[in-house]
Subunit: 249 residues, 8 copies
């Protein structure tokens, strides 16, 4: 019984009133009026807070970017516009921006990348989402292997890279249109497949809903699905899985 | 100008009033009060009329069955119940009924089967729809090859039969759940693939809508789709295609 | 048993190690880093690879266009923008661009067109999709007959051209709004009808979903459906069918 | 100013307090605790109240049936079960029940039927809904012509009866599956077409939603749509239209 | 038997070959290559052909406008842009264009307007669709009464104009958001109500689908529905009904 | 700072270790292995826990019923079957069961009912849901006025009871089909309207989704919506509102 | 019997003809040709009419703004554009415009704010909708407490402010994406929770439909839902509830 | 280059023709005519094949059950009926059947369970799906902790068990209705959360689609989703993750 221990220690003066009080307080966060930065997040989840840049007002974006950089010595944002890049580049010239994945970041140098995540796409149009996944996983410390344009309409392309894919702790399958890639991968590997439907397609693809349904209904095992175009979410959970796989060695 | 020819021939007494009148009359059909049997259908389309048995009242079903048998010397019905089979078995003991495909028929003997149609299923639960397709195609004179349980979750099963599939004039891909089989087949054969989504599945399969969307959005070429569970429609259009392919020899 | 033959021939030195190895290798493709051009595609499917231009980065589009032209002596792209046309026109002045169908191409001269495909539209607004279908079929070597603006609201217009339609090996029915044209055609011809729903319409047409549902649920036989606005897909499968019909003569 | 007139007449004793009060009272109805029978309905709309039988408790159904019969000397109910028929047959042996349309009624004798409404169906399975429409229109005093099984898959059947259809003041088009009949009729007649989608079909027909969408998106003019399987609603509005057309003679 | 009469008359030289041939010919139309103007339309339906301007190429729009004006001495187009207006204004300075309804027209002078159609809207944002309906009905010769902004959130506004509404042969109910106006009107008048859902609204209104569903499911009688924002369709069928009502007098 | 107070009191021996520990423990509940009865619920929300009976196993249902009765001296369950009633009637003969609302309960005698909630239905078929709402509100201590069968197709029925409705602190509007009743009520009262869509209807009512959309999109103010057929939820929140309104007096 | 009283008093000359007539007249409104301003609205509902600015023509917007200001001495509009602000600022320089909530207003000074409404958001992107709710409630006289960025992905942020939330008479929960905030709040407070889904999100959020469904299906009690992004509607009904709660003191 | 090695060894007679041929053959499976048992599956994926019992014909079910038991010495089936249990109990009296999860199995004794998976449910009605997940994971060798009835409407119940949940390598969140549990868990643990929407609910829950959408749109990180009611799929992928986490120790 943890609470009992704290109380006992407090009574026995092993810890101060403030320490005891702190124990029982709710977990802290940084109040920014319009936002509450989750500063205990890395302790709780093992991942620092990142910025979902899209739709943030300029002043808010800049302040949050600055605050997170000051706290962590690095900062990572998804769905950033070129305009947002230009805003922070003035403050932090070392900021990097990738036009394809729309990721903005300042990253610590010589970060170690461990384990292995395989990021596969069905077509070239799925690459922006795949890069969001891949770079997210890399930022969080995963080793990433990219295998692009291996969709089921020419399935021999997938088989030619199967050995690389099968070595990964986790496979991310990124596909739009009918999204069949996830099912085929699920049948060929023995590790978890995180499926990312993309909004690539037209007509009855309904901006990715069709691919999402395909992946959710997959007849193969070992597949779980994240939101349409949610490369970040896939990179995050794949890193969680990869860390489990890595620590084993 | 055809009309002109008929008129001229009529004036020159080369054809009678009745013949001319018949020419201009709308195409005939058999009026049955509650139904209009399309007796010119075989002439127009090359396929005799068949019965969609489901939902027909007993007396209507029996009369239509009888009428079509009398006209054509054979009769073919889809989605028949065992009860309907028992109704007509008393009249025509030679009637055959297949519990799996729910097809009821009296078929002429020694029918020739030409060309080749490959009917593939993703799983065993898709077999009833596949059999409706296969037996429809056979009734209309096509040779049919069955390749069942070759879904993408164990894709090596499909590859082991690929040579047989590639020989067909037309491939029918029957799949429920996520329906990815059609896309994979589309990438592997050079003949038309008719995709049949099935209502096999649960949850977000939405009774086959998910598989339908997958097939409609396929990234592979040479695929066209019929309604959910519409084995008959697939067997019909595949026969049309197979006839084109067969006559060439 | 093919594998056995190769092995036996290899052991008997009838084929070299490289030839045997090549036999067992996966089918090749051209690795372009961001894409894998399917160079064995024409061998496998009888159709050369084409470019889906929409959404491709300028540099990728130009490189793929160039590569395909070098390999095949001709190249064909769908959903191209005028901007993309201007990019390649500088490199290849002979490039043609059609503002209506958004097709870009360099085509070999004096290509033979065989068989017959009838492309029908319900209205004039469906013509862009119909032209994508027609020009695709022509590029792949099919003879095409265009019958436009024959929708069911003035059905006598359709009947006036019925003889032409009935001569084709395959009919493409292009229609938006309620999409009833496909059903009417299915009842009037004895060849396969490939139905293409278009996004023409407003309100409850839901960008073509309504027409797609109409076509999928058609009460007529011999109809199969491709994605909304997918003229290319219709032209492709119609060519597959037309080739079957043509070779017969 | 009507209110002023009533007030003035009342002050001048031309009408009594009760008459004036009655004028200003809300329109009356019969309070039955669980229901409020709209007894002024015939005055307001020209149609007596009818019973939507489905889902009514036995005791409620019987009381309402009795009450309406007492008020009007006739009574009409839709979607009645055989069980409900047996309930009231004991009370009123003259009650009629139609197994196909599920209409229950006691009807005054020698009712005159005027004007002309044409009720068309695409198939035989649509007949129950068509009969609900036809018998509703007849109960309300319309002459009805039935033209069944004239769907677009064999459109010559429709043309053979076109003259009869074109004579009507209003056409009711009843169709399930893809529901294309309404569009074809809309292009061929110059009177209003009331389209009734039915739940006949399977798979992507989605219990009639697909036919509903087809009809709502019709490219033909002069079409308006009622709910799926709503034969009663179609017979009602068609009678309103037919009455307008009839009084002209 | 009409065909027989023509044939007999022809044989007896009462009519010429051309006349007989003409009788049996399909109904004519004006072939414009990209369009088939339905010149027999007025004979068949009592309504001249009109132009759905949206999406037409400039050259096509101008040609069709000109052709229809030449044939009928007046012309009417819906969903026209200001740009299209400027195109034809140069050719026909008498052209009128209404910024609210987006109707473009040249109309014969002193056209008689007969009968009565009431056009009601729930809010002011529904007025563009209502004006499309009203001006269509007026162009086709109907007298129109406008009753705007009488939605159910302040239902006393509707009651204040009820007498006017109740005099019409047909009521058009135009409403977006939840579209409840049609149901309320259906309960208050004894003439047909044509309900037009509009795309006015936000969120779960889903661009008018919600209002469409409300109207289709109406618990009131005498209501039929046209497509979202389809003022033209409502004005057309209301005119058909109004003509029936008018001729009676 | 509450935590500080507890800690201080504990150190000063004003409270015991157990009392302090209890303070910091999470809020308690009754662990039943397969369920966690929320025994602090009444303290937290002012409402005792109730049973959603549908789908509960017999043994679980009986145990939970018994446990709640023992704790509170009364018990209330929704969506109970007759079978479930028979199970507990043996244990507690005083149990009451209402066949219409499917509510099962043992209720304390002489419960006071305060304030006023008006429960309105559009039709008689909506009464089961309305009764679930009304009896829930009564069980939780509200005075309830029932106004049934006042739907918009005969809106004078609603006006005749408007004075009663306008006196309530909260109005519950229960309606299926097109669900327009909520909008009309919202325009007529100055208190919150809780709208309950019901699954009453057919065809495009889609089991209540259409009514739900109508209510969510209402053009009237002061309306908020609960789930389809969720009479309990409406009665609950209406009671919360009614308590606010009552305490004021 | 009220009507009787009026009539009697009128006959006895206790009231004039005009007074009696006025009593029986429908409730008045201000006829503006294109709109009917509901000038009795404040009497009927306790809330003055406000302007939904979006989509209003400039001239209409300005006139209505002016008219309402003249009548009430203050005016309030939602979803106003900067352009609309500039239009009225010339006429009324005291007009205020909030770029975030898109609210435009002239408000009386020293308005009293009573009771307490807590407005909570899940994220910062939900703030515009929350501000529409908050400022609406304030305009109508409610005291508002803002608690922003307390979504369930870091639930400790919510708990830190729970005491403030629990003091309110009504809680407004504003959330996009998966919208889980409403359920969590419903379990933690004993007052009504008005849930506002927002269109914040991407992919399968379907512009807020997903959040709407989450909130409608909430397993917690005491929750009712308004339309997506309908901050105004939430502020309105919350004020109705808050007034009930306030008057109690 | 593996193929080269095999060829070389074969030529040098180190391996036989049959061995070489076997190497190049496609991966094997057990042909059962109506099914193709994937006997290499355990090698490929680390999981033996299991039976999806629902919908299997009696004879097929029994044969497959027998075949798998013979091959593996144990067998596991999901969605089995009591009837299917009785079929195999005669053959294998040691068969176990769980009425709640509908799992049928013969399991090897003393199986080791390693690592830790936490299976949480929102309510008691979600337990059948949770048990399918838990027992699947246990069959595949995982240690499972069950935490049931901890939904967000009484969130303190979840907090009381948080320590147990946080120890797991993978958390399975099973929830119907609005499915908010997954988001809350995602914010509280640092391991992957596999979310399973269930069909528990009514009305707008749409048989689990609403919960699925909630989970897919979750604002929390580290969540991926499987199909509605797919406990098996969740147990499978959780085991894959758990194995990664376990091997690390």
């Amino acid at each position: 019984m943890e609470a009992r221990e704290v109380l006992t220690k407090f009574k026995q003066n092993e810890i101060t009133l403030e320490e005891a009080e702190h124990y029982f307080r709710k977990q802290p966060f940084e109040e920014m009026d319009y936002a509450k930065l989750d500063s205990h997040r890395e302790i709780r989840s093992g991942f620092p807070e990142v910025i979902f840049c899209s739709g943030k007002a300029d002043v808010h974006f800049t302040q949050i970017f600055k605050k997170l950089y000051e706290e962590n010595g690095e900062v990572f944002g998804t769905r950033a516009s070129r305009h947002q890049y230009e805003l922070v580049k003035e403050l932090f010239p070392q900021t990097e921006y990738d036009e394809i994945s729309h990721i903005i970041k300042i990253e610590k140098e010589k970060k170690e990348h461990v384990g292995k995540i395989a990021v596969c796409t069905a077509g070239t149009a799925d690459i922006p989402v795949a890069e969001e996944a891949a770079q997210t996983a890399e930022y969080f410390g995963s080793e990433v292997e990219r295998i692009y344009d291996v969709g089921v309409s020419g399935i021999h392309r997938l088989f030619s890279r199967l050995d690389v894919i099968q070595e990964a702790n986790c496979v991310i399958a990124v596909a739009g249109m009918e999204g069949a890639l996830a099912s085929v991968l699920g049948g060929l590997v023995d590790k978890p497949v995180i499926a990312v439907p993309t909004s690539v397609g037209y007509g009855a693809s309904m901006h990715g809903l069709s691919a999402l349904l395909t992946m959710i209904n997959s007849c193969a095992n070992g597949i779980a699905v994240v939101n349409i175009d949610n490369g970040y979410g896939a990179g995050y959970i794949a890193t969680q899985i990869n860390r489990l796989g890595f620590r084993e060695k």
